[in-house]
């Protein structure tokens, strides 16, 4: 792993205005959603709940927020998918003992 070269105060100085701008952009977008007609239907949209969950993660501590937010916006994985999808006849004949 390559550690971040900069100290946290240096990163903060460089990104403060960027973070501020992005928070404002999200706030203004949420305002736009609320002042438009039929705002209730958007609040009932499952994707809006995903947005809310993402915002909650922003307020948490740690350094995996981006990955956690990505997972909120991800479909569920079923570890048994291969049995359901691929019957023996549909899978190409494998030769597991043949190395490169």
């Amino acid at each position: 792993m390559i550690a971040a070269i900069q100290t946290s105060p240096e990163v903060f100085e460089q990104t403060f205005l960027l973070i501020r701008a992005r928070i404002l952009e999200i706030a203004a977008t949420l305002d736009r959603l609320d002042r438009a007609e039929a705002a209730e239907s958007v609040r009932a949209d499952p994707r809006f709940r995903q947005i809310q969950q993402g915002l909650e993660i922003l307020l948490s501590d740690g350094f995996h927020r981006a990955a956690q937010i990505q997972e909120i916006f991800s479909d569920q994985y079923d570890p048994t998918w291969m049995k359901k999808y691929l019957t023996t006849g549909e899978r190409p004949a494998l030769s597991p003992s043949v190395p490169h």
Partner: protein
């Protein structure tokens, strides 16, 4: 700094883009076969596309002094047509030994369907039979995490697959660890809205290291930026990362992966003047 864009769809870009990326330091590109924006209707449509990838694009890239490499497959978006997919897979060996062909790609999943999974495995089967490298497309947005896990499941279930000969592309924060932990190469795509921004890609490098990882623009016919790799270089420079580390990610790593292909030939940029072709675009 010289760099390589290991994933860019130049058939969708104009010749001026070759010139622009050359001026930014790009010395080589690799172009995976992909979806044209519409489903092609016949195997001959793919045959013409493969001719374009292996014959014309290397020539067009050469006008700007760029070395062009390519990958062959039928894209996951078109894999729902299993019959056509199988015809295309059967046709790939006609082109696989052409100069500049690096292997089978970009294969993968799109909506994580049964037919996509079947055609993915048949591509892998071909790659194993021909001893070829594999370049993998992982799905977009909400399908990415599930699809990446499914792809890794399929690869790990075939004991012939050597992870170091497979590149899993379009990784992001939630999938990079899955690919790296199993020993695969991986790549981050720098897109304006979806996938990674240069700053997030730099964050991932800082978190996961610079081994077996590269970045690309995946420039194509959609919203994309063919000079995104230089933006990533600039981001790492601004953060104070040494030039040697940056070069490893944008130049040395793609070369290390590509050199596993038995056909790969590369002329380092300090000798590129020797390979600039004499046939210029005005002579077309």
């Amino acid at each position: 700094m010289y760099y390589i864009d290991p994933h860019i769809h130049m058939v969708s870009r104009v010749t001026d883009d070759y010139e622009r990326i050359a001026r930014m330091g790009c010395v080589a590109v690799s172009e995976p076969a992909f979806w044209a924006g519409f489903d092609r209707g016949s195997v001959d449509g793919f045959r013409d596309y493969f001719r374009q990838l292996t014959e014309f694009e290397p020539k067009r890239a050469g006008w700007s002094g760029i070395q062009h490499y390519t990958w062959l497959c039928i894209n996951a978006k078109e894999a729902e047509n299993v019959e056509l997919s199988r015809e295309v897979i059967k046709m790939i060996p006609e082109f696989i030994n052409n100069p500049g062909v690096l292997g089978i790609g970009e294969i993968g999943l799109n909506k994580n369907t049964k037919n996509e999974s079947i055609i993915f495995q048949e591509h892998v089967q071909l790659a194993m039979e021909l001893d070829e490298l594999i370049l993998i497309h992982t799905p977009h947005l909400q399908d990415k995490l599930k699809g990446t896990r499914m792809i890794i499941d399929m690869l790990m279930s075939d004991r012939r697959v050597q992870p170091e000969r497979v590149l899993i592309d379009h990784v992001e924060e939630h999938t990079v660890g899955l690919a790296k932990e199993e020993g695969f190469w991986c790549a981050m795509t720098l897109y304006p809205i979806t996938k990674c921004t240069p700053s997030r890609a730099a964050d991932i490098i800082e978190a996961y290291g610079d081994d077996r990882i590269m970045v690309n623009s995946a420039g194509d016919w959609g919203p994309s930026n063919p000079i995104a790799v230089p933006d990533f270089i600039q981001e790492l420079r601004k953060r104070g990362h040494p030039e040697s580390k940056i070069k490893k990610i944008v130049y040395d790593n793609p070369l290390e992966f590509f050199r596993q292909c038995k056909r790969f030939e590369f002329t380092p940029p300090d000798t590129l003047v020797d390979v600039v072709p004499t046939e210029l675009p005005m002579e077309r």
